[in-house]
């Protein structure tokens, strides 16, 4: 038979094996979309993981380079600050939603939760509507409220066994309802100076809010890396049935992951309120899709178990740079949205193109 004397044997470990391979139960749910698990296939998936993150980074870099080349304003230090400041809220929200996406679940509750939390915080700190002046305590209570919303989403999803798409969609409506009731026709203007300073006071050129966001992201990353909530969320997203078989109370940890996410949304709502200067019911409109898109662009997949807080941050920066750059390069407002949509798809497509064959099932 053909050439027994190959100059060198196939390098079995150097290159990741293609899809075909040894027996491989996608360990996860019945849909077979869980990460494949043979050595060959697994190595492929994992390297696809790495490649995807790297590709997102490259896409971000390309965006930066292109905009910098076209627009002199884009290159300024002031604009860098602006981008960081603009990314702050989305960064916090995306950190939160990453915990949910890691589970393989989805969260559409942001508009409602943020609306309710924004109204709550603006009514708890010194404001134009009532005589409350809880200051930091008010902010803490708001974050707790966000966490409570998250926990409720989690409890409803896991105990009633309802798809998270639906529970969180319903939760969004409930949150908006609560926000509307709290609003009662008059917008509470935030008079609390320290909260106001979040948006206006600068330290080393960055707003307080940006620094808080950095801290929050770091905290999110730490939770993901060092706590059961974070680690189990990844494991559950990787193979929920197996985690269950190992005796882990999956429902509890899913719920807690939603709770953590909710706390971040609560913080995000406080930041938005600080920025807007008053309690706005619709403060969270559109943040659900923005946060999910950011996370997914960064390589946190909707199927769960892949990505993470830091990856999501790549997406946050990419989206912010894109919005900023399109304005600075003078793209007509009429087509900005369309251009943004195309670039997002292109960026993801180009990023995955080299590994598309190894990706297996893509939903």
């Amino acid at each position: 038979m053909a050439g027994d004397t190959a100059p060198h044997a196939p390098t079995r470990t150097l290159e990741p094996a293609p899809l075909a391979g040894a027996p491989a139960p996608g360990a996860g749910g019945g849909n077979g979309d869980a990460p494949a698990a043979t050595s060959g296939r697994a190595r492929a998936t994992r390297s696809a993981d790495v490649v995807q993150t790297r590709a997102s980074l490259i896409a971000l870099a390309v965006l930066v380079v292109v905009f910098a080349a076209i627009s002199p304003q884009f290159r300024t230090a002031g604009n860098l600050q602006q981008i960081i400041d603009a990314a702050a809220v989305l960064a916090v929200l995306a950190t939160g939603i990453t915990f949910v996406l890691m589970l393989g679940a989805i969260d559409l509750s942001l508009p409602g939760v943020i609306g309710a939390c924004a109204m709550t915080v603006s009514l708890l700190v010194a404001n134009s509507r009532n005589t409350q002046d809880l200051g930091l305590l008010g902010i803490a209570l708001t974050i707790l409220l966000g966490a409570a919303f998250g926990l409720l989403s989690g409890v409803l999803s896991t105990r009633l066994r309802i798809p998270t798409f639906m529970t969180t969609l319903g939760m969004s409506a409930i949150g908006l309802g609560i926000a509307t009731i709290l609003f009662a026709g008059v917008r509470p203007v935030v008079l609390d100076e320290s909260l106001g300073a979040w948006a206006s006071h600068r330290i080393a050129g960055f707003t307080v809010m940006s620094l808080i966001a950095v801290a929050a992201v770091a905290l999110g990353w730490a939770i993901q890396r060092w706590t059961r909530i974070g680690r189990y969320a990844a494991a559950i997203g990787g193979a929920e049935d197996i985690v269950l078989l190992s005796g882990v109370p999956v429902a509890r940890y899913k719920t807690l992951a939603f709770g953590v996410a909710g706390a971040f949304y609560g913080l995000g709502a406080v930041m938005l309120t600080a920025r807007l200067g008053s309690g706005v019911v619709e403060a969270g409109a559109g943040t659900d899709f923005a946060a999910i898109t950011a996370a997914v662009i960064g390589g946190t997949l909707l199927s769960g178990g892949r990505g993470g807080v830091l990856q999501s941050m790549i997406g946050v920066l990419a989206l912010t740079v894109l919005a900023n750059g399109l304005i600075l390069t003078g793209v007509s407002p009429y087509v900005q949205q369309a251009v943004q949509g195309v670039i997002v798809v292109l960026a993801v497509a180009v990023a995955t193109w080299p590994v598309r064959r190894r990706l297996g099932v893509v939903k």
Partner: protein
């Protein structure tokens, strides 16, 4: 070993003594009719606050209101069945409404045909990108959402495009034998799509791809083609929905119907179709769309404040799903 997994992910059997075969199928039957029962219960409950809701006129108005949503929802059902998601439907419907309004002077009533064809093509493009570049359908269609609304904005000059020749769209808003024609058109779409999915191999292919794409591929099912076809169908349905919207507002607009996305997906889920794919069907979505519409309009008519209305909507929609979905069909809950 292979079996181990099958068994462990199989139906949960923790509900006490073994149900006999008979009881089991009764349960299935109950689940089958649950969405319908929820719909009836909701109507009855709402009518205690507003008895007019049950009048024939009112019921017909509900059906009429539901028509565009229903058409959108059955389209996205096909995509969801094969495991994906289509977020572009509402934007595509808006674009279609603009195209329809612009093309009526050229083609008259027949403008609906090229409009639906263009929408189907748009769906197919998204499907191809998803299949060929292996980009998550969520992202592809999210990009689509932005792109189609951008195009609609540009070709309409960011304005509402009025329909000058109302006769050209009369077919879509008259009544036939006492029934609004929009309802009949929607039902026609339901019947055609339902028949294709039930009677031809297409339905199985879609479900097989949704349940176990790899197994489907290795059984020789043209997985890529099935997915592209699903997105094409979804696009075509969005096109038809756009046409129905024009017949409702006598104009096309770049934001017309853009708010129907989440209600449409909610209709699919409330009907009992698994959001993870594989299980469910068109008929369920029809009931789901009606439930969503009853919730949307019914609640605003029983006279509670906007805040409470929203809360009740949230609670009821979660409650509706809680009783309509068949949990044994969801291996892992996402």
């Amino acid at each position: 070993m292979t079996e181990t997994a099958v068994e462990t992910t199989g139906p949960r059997d923790d509900d006490g003594p073994a149900p006999g075969a008979g009881r089991r199928s009764r349960r299935d039957l109950a689940l089958l009719f649950m969405p319908g029962a929820v719909l009836v219960l909701l109507l009855l409950a709402l009518s205690t606050r507003n008895p007019d809701l049950l009048s024939p006129d009112s019921l017909l108005a509900i059906a009429d209101s539901a028509a565009p949503l229903m058409v959108l929802a059955i389209g996205v059902t096909v995509v969801i069945l094969c495991g994906g998601i289509d977020l572009s439907i509402a934007a595509l419907a808006a674009l279609s409404s603009v195209l329809f309004a612009l093309w009526i002077p050229l083609f008259g009533a027949a403008a609906a045909v090229p409009v639906i064809a263009v929408a189907a093509l748009a769906g197919a493009v998204q499907g191809l990108v998803h299949v060929k570049a292996k980009v998550n359908s969520f992202i592809v269609t999210l990009g689509g959402l932005a792109l189609w609304s951008g195009i609609a904005l540009v070709i309409s000059g960011a304005r509402t495009v009025p329909v000058t020749d109302v006769d050209a769209i009369r077919w879509a808003f008259t009544t036939v034998a006492g029934l609004p024609s929009a309802v009949l058109i929607a039902l026609g779409a339901v019947v055609v799509l339902g028949a294709v999915l039930r009677l031809t191999p297409a339905g199985r292919w879609v479900r097989a791809v949704g349940h176990a794409e790899q197994a489907a591929r290795l059984a020789g099912i043209p997985v890529g083609a099935v997915k592209v076809a699903a997105f094409t169908t979804s696009g075509a349905c969005a096109g038809l929905a756009g046409v129905l919207l024009v017949a409702r507002t006598f104009s096309g607009a770049p934001s017309l119907g853009a708010t129907l996305l989440l209600p449409a997906v909610a209709a699919v889920v409330v009907g009992g179709t698994a959001i993870t794919g594989g299980f469910g069907g068109i008929g369920r979505t029809v009931i789901g769309a009606l439930i969503v519409i009853v919730l949307r309009v019914g609640l605003s008519l029983i006279g509670v404040d906007a805040g409470f209305e929203s809360i009740i909507y949230g609670v009821l929609i979660i409650g509706a799903v809680a009783v309509t979905i068949d949990r044994t069909k969801l291996d892992v809950l996402k």
